[in-house]
Symmetry: D4
Subunit: 209 residues, 8 copies
Amino acid sequence: MSNNKPYVRLDRDNAVVLLVDHQAGLLSLVRDIEPDRFKNNVLALADAAKFFNLPTILTTSFETGPNGPLMPELKALFPDAPYIARPGQINAWDNEDFVKAIKATGKKQLIIAGVVTEVCVAFPALSAIEEGFEVFVVGDASGTFNELTRDAAWRRMEAAGAQMMTWFGVACELHRDWRNDIEGLGALCANHIPDYRNLMTAYNSLQAK
Amino acid sequence: MSNNKPYVRLDRDNAVVLLVDHQAGLLSLVRDIEPDRFKNNVLALADAAKFFNLPTILTTSFETGPNGPLMPELKALFPDAPYIARPGQINAWDNEDFVKAIKATGKKQLIIAGVVTEVCVAFPALSAIEEGFEVFVVGDASGTFNELTRDAAWRRMEAAGAQMMTWFGVACELHRDWRNDIEGLGALCANHIPDYRNLMTAYNSLQAK
Amino acid sequence: MSNNKPYVRLDRDNAVVLLVDHQAGLLSLVRDIEPDRFKNNVLALADAAKFFNLPTILTTSFETGPNGPLMPELKALFPDAPYIARPGQINAWDNEDFVKAIKATGKKQLIIAGVVTEVCVAFPALSAIEEGFEVFVVGDASGTFNELTRDAAWRRMEAAGAQMMTWFGVACELHRDWRNDIEGLGALCANHIPDYRNLMTAYNSLQAK
Amino acid sequence: MSNNKPYVRLDRDNAVVLLVDHQAGLLSLVRDIEPDRFKNNVLALADAAKFFNLPTILTTSFETGPNGPLMPELKALFPDAPYIARPGQINAWDNEDFVKAIKATGKKQLIIAGVVTEVCVAFPALSAIEEGFEVFVVGDASGTFNELTRDAAWRRMEAAGAQMMTWFGVACELHRDWRNDIEGLGALCANHIPDYRNLMTAYNSLQAK
Amino acid sequence: MSNNKPYVRLDRDNAVVLLVDHQAGLLSLVRDIEPDRFKNNVLALADAAKFFNLPTILTTSFETGPNGPLMPELKALFPDAPYIARPGQINAWDNEDFVKAIKATGKKQLIIAGVVTEVCVAFPALSAIEEGFEVFVVGDASGTFNELTRDAAWRRMEAAGAQMMTWFGVACELHRDWRNDIEGLGALCANHIPDYRNLMTAYNSLQAK
Amino acid sequence: MSNNKPYVRLDRDNAVVLLVDHQAGLLSLVRDIEPDRFKNNVLALADAAKFFNLPTILTTSFETGPNGPLMPELKALFPDAPYIARPGQINAWDNEDFVKAIKATGKKQLIIAGVVTEVCVAFPALSAIEEGFEVFVVGDASGTFNELTRDAAWRRMEAAGAQMMTWFGVACELHRDWRNDIEGLGALCANHIPDYRNLMTAYNSLQAK
Amino acid sequence: MSNNKPYVRLDRDNAVVLLVDHQAGLLSLVRDIEPDRFKNNVLALADAAKFFNLPTILTTSFETGPNGPLMPELKALFPDAPYIARPGQINAWDNEDFVKAIKATGKKQLIIAGVVTEVCVAFPALSAIEEGFEVFVVGDASGTFNELTRDAAWRRMEAAGAQMMTWFGVACELHRDWRNDIEGLGALCANHIPDYRNLMTAYNSLQAK
Amino acid sequence: MSNNKPYVRLDRDNAVVLLVDHQAGLLSLVRDIEPDRFKNNVLALADAAKFFNLPTILTTSFETGPNGPLMPELKALFPDAPYIARPGQINAWDNEDFVKAIKATGKKQLIIAGVVTEVCVAFPALSAIEEGFEVFVVGDASGTFNELTRDAAWRRMEAAGAQMMTWFGVACELHRDWRNDIEGLGALCANHIPDYRNLMTAYNSLQAK
């Protein structure tokens, strides 16, 4: 029996990050992850994108209506990123500018997160898979109404071939080796994993003696 | 590696909605979703079927016995829909009239929900897949005894090729673009997502100034 | 041993309902009760207040700011109720108009609900107890950040002598006897308890034969 | 400091059991305890009442309407018990026949269970305490809509002086000493505690060798 | 795209039931399903096997040691069934008598349940699939240490091609049509689904008028 | 207002430990705490009793029957402790030898744990309070059927004046000051709190450099 | 009946904040609140203390050992606060310097939070109550091993007269009226309640038009 | 239809155990399994590896930094095992010495556990599958931040062909037949499954008579 399935592994030279509809209004719909944790997860993914210098694309849906504006922190982190305020397409992939921006990067791996998971994440993920992209869903930086809804969304994307991940797994798979930048990855962890910050605080305190 | 799996996407011109056994007695068996939410989910799916003008088929099992009559709201919403009161078949697909009603629509995509999930939804879903239909299960408008039972039912349908969805994902995938009817989709959301109604209330209040 | 503690029982001739800060923005903070249920609970309490003709007082906090406007359904149900838009007082009892409106009713029993529980409900509840009112907290029509927060709020109010209740208990204690208005109480239940509506649907269907 | 509070202990010569509104329709409202367990708890309490020969009083609310008939098992177990089908009083204590039946027993300890907890149990419990009875609430043979509601109901009764118990605690406190009837209590446990039945099965099997 | 996957459907003429290691001692290890429910599920499956006259095979592991004797109810229900007390094989399929007993039935569909899920159920399920049997796992009549363990066991069996089901789904799929025996299936439901018994009690009461 | 309630504080010179019915059979009934944790909690309390040299009294109920023998670890830890195998009394306080053993110590503070909480712990706790003892219940070294049952038991004991504690709180309140025996308390923590052991492992490793 | 219990209300002119043992090592023991939320709660309380200019006292237990150093954020926020590194006393109130620091403030209301709740918070809370202080426990800025442990700790403190609160309730009760500093309280909320920040982001965006 | 998928079964002559990064610091990050249980699971797997004499390989990541040293118990159990302290590679498979150590065993089945699941377990698992190894993940001896993260990690490994197991399933599949060493397997169970120890205690006690 040959079970040797290739490891489709994130490659920092071939990946682009898509942040879909993390808007102030829509965030109030997210109830499968508690708000302190969810906010942290989204910012952790954004910080990781920055740290690895990955091309990052922002998009929003009707940001002048009840859905509200993009999280200001994301705007501030990626001032020069392509920013597609979609005029109506629910599936971001139905927006030509969004797809063009992705294709312009020349990358084949899409790291995607958004709100809500079963729509804003799943639809473009399924479209991208159909076009041959490798899709990595950041499950903990994507949110939706409740756990049942999340479960359905994850199953649909997984069945289509998307890889389910979380921000920390994405960061570690991109980084490969601590020696590439020990302090950089350490800071990313300390800023977004309270338990890890505690470990570092204790460690540094003992080292200082 | 070619992972480019086609995106089997809901198409409002090719879809039919099947509402199976949402009967007053059977609803008391549903305990994997709390009752306020479940009632809302079923009515949201029904409203979506109406909004998108999808052919809709109603069916019940032994409605003159303990299973009880169909939810009156569904009868009222679809007064002219095919209504198959099955004389005994547990799997609705074993009832010729039900299958005929589906085939008469000429549609190839089945959006299905019902009570209880592992029987009234799963059995016709598996039969339909065998006959080549594309099956989309509305997981949150389907209910059953508990989470373990739901999990088993979802796994069996998913393994057979059904796509697991929820009412909101179905509505968004059918709608494609807000511009097709902004107020219509907005009303559907406001009526069935309390958090979304809050967003609209706040937005409208500020706009009115 | 004499344990015969008096039963401080709700009396429809001596009770007033206080709805505190059920505002569109603040509602997005409520995460100890899921939104479909919470919306239903608040409207059930409001319908009960209406059904029993209880004097009802509405108040809001900074409704022109991020807290947002009062739920429109409440405004619509009580168009002539005292409505105190507080200019800044966090504890509604610190607002003279609010207390005056209560005292003007001449009632000694306060039925109170609001958002968030540990502030907008607990503060006036504690103030009212100090002034000798009998306070009945409607716990399921009051919401807050999470279960830990709710637990703390309930303990503090209970320790001060507030009675913890829910909307259905309030309605039943006020009604005393089904014969006072069978259809009225039946409608209240059917509109706000999906399982009870199912019972009535099944019952009516069998009676009709 | 004198903390020596008297132990208000169940006494089989001074206790009466009140089963309030365990009706087929109302049982569908119970969602704070899963149905297999709840049915078992109610029957366990009934079996205990029988085993200890306690006077037992049955009452129902509108049993010819949607609330439905009393659980047939209870009728069958107590064919000669006072049975008060209340014509409308929500609080059973407001029904003179019910109170008379209790007082006719001459007992001062009331063991009470019912559906739903915050109404059918709490109201008569509070009334009885006011009249000087010692009230023992069987919390796991009483059911209601959800855990929040149960929590409110328990707090209110406890604050008034009711003792919160469960059927097993009641049975053990009444029995006092296994030697009063080893086989009797053993059978009660084996019939209603699956884990205890397993212990007895294993034990008997080894003893038989 | 051809998604028309055949529906591998339970057939009462081609199915055999395997009850593996439901022993008094091992049952104390089951903590992923609460004991009242689990006992009910196992007996429901056994009653269904009896009702459909399916050949049923019992097996135990070391029943004279700490694992304890088979649940007496199962012995009593199937006095003439093949009963293989395995002398040591953990995977029942490693026991020749067990496999012979299965093959002697000539059936190709195996309905399997047992304790603990990841060992006593999963191992023979995987062996049977390898030999070409169609395997239907009764997930709610199988128990194990906790939910994480159950999840792992279910995933492994599902990945190998087992179909995950529950006792009610099995019974309904075998029965096909209520008209085959309305009272028989009704009794099975009433005896093992408390909510269904309530529906029947209420229905019968109203019919009797 | 004078709220200055005296702090009833554990005093190692005035406390005795009562371990009630931690028997092999009865332990299988404990389902409100998972088994790895519960076993650890019971042994932690026992080790604390040993560490503080507190007089300790063991008692069992019908240990030659299905309830099974005392946990062997407890027997081994306290070979010379009073050991009362009760011939039938369910409430250990009804057994004269048990009460005599307690009174023989001359201590006024009782630290009590057992299985099951609402019977084997609550009954003697209530009896002891009536006689003027100060009762400290070790809630996490006591177990019962489920969380509802535990909640009822805790409320009843608390209402009577028992103080609810856990093994770690008991140990810390007895120890008062780390300097009384740093290594002793450290070992107790490391042996029974995995997270604390990790802290010590990391600390010692860094200190060793 | 006179139920008019005085409202013991936080007063910014009479309150002091005690932060007990929020140390890097001990924080790894906290498992009743998830880490992102817990860290946020502790910093929110600290920011509130700062905002209201409350005297604040820091204390640690063995900070050079495995318990680890104080959270650096707390040190940074309160550089001039009394800082008592206890040499061994588990109950901070047993340390004279700690009590002196409190008494030096002349305040009678203690707002206390710490790790772990049942020891580092409960012990000084009980001691302070005995001395006549009014104690307000910040339950969500205090953490411990699990929910059972928290429940026991809360019950013990509540029974002694402590008031259970959370950081947001504390802040609102201290502030009294938004008009005292709208922007200040708004910033506190926005920085520590992600849902509130979303409301402000959406509001500001609409206002800016 | 041919569903006869081969059973990829653990074989004690062809399996190696990989324990990845069970380090004192990293263990504080594990929050999807409670600490008493997790510690037990890891030691159970280690004891099983020892019992079956499987070659075992230990590896750590930055053990001199905040991640901390390997659990001392593992070091002590496998003093002569290959021990690869990785200088920086996050995926252990990127470390040549680690892969060499595995290949030197000549085994084709990898039993892997570690901390955290989605990184330290998933990455080498995916790499090993790509190279044709059969991978068995010990899910309950692997830990991570929370259940959502675990779910994502399990899905990714499962989709790639890893088999999800738990320590008890691994031990039973390796052992095959109790008669290979009844006492050995019995001891493994008794030491790591408290319920099983109770069964043995009760059994031995009765046998001794």
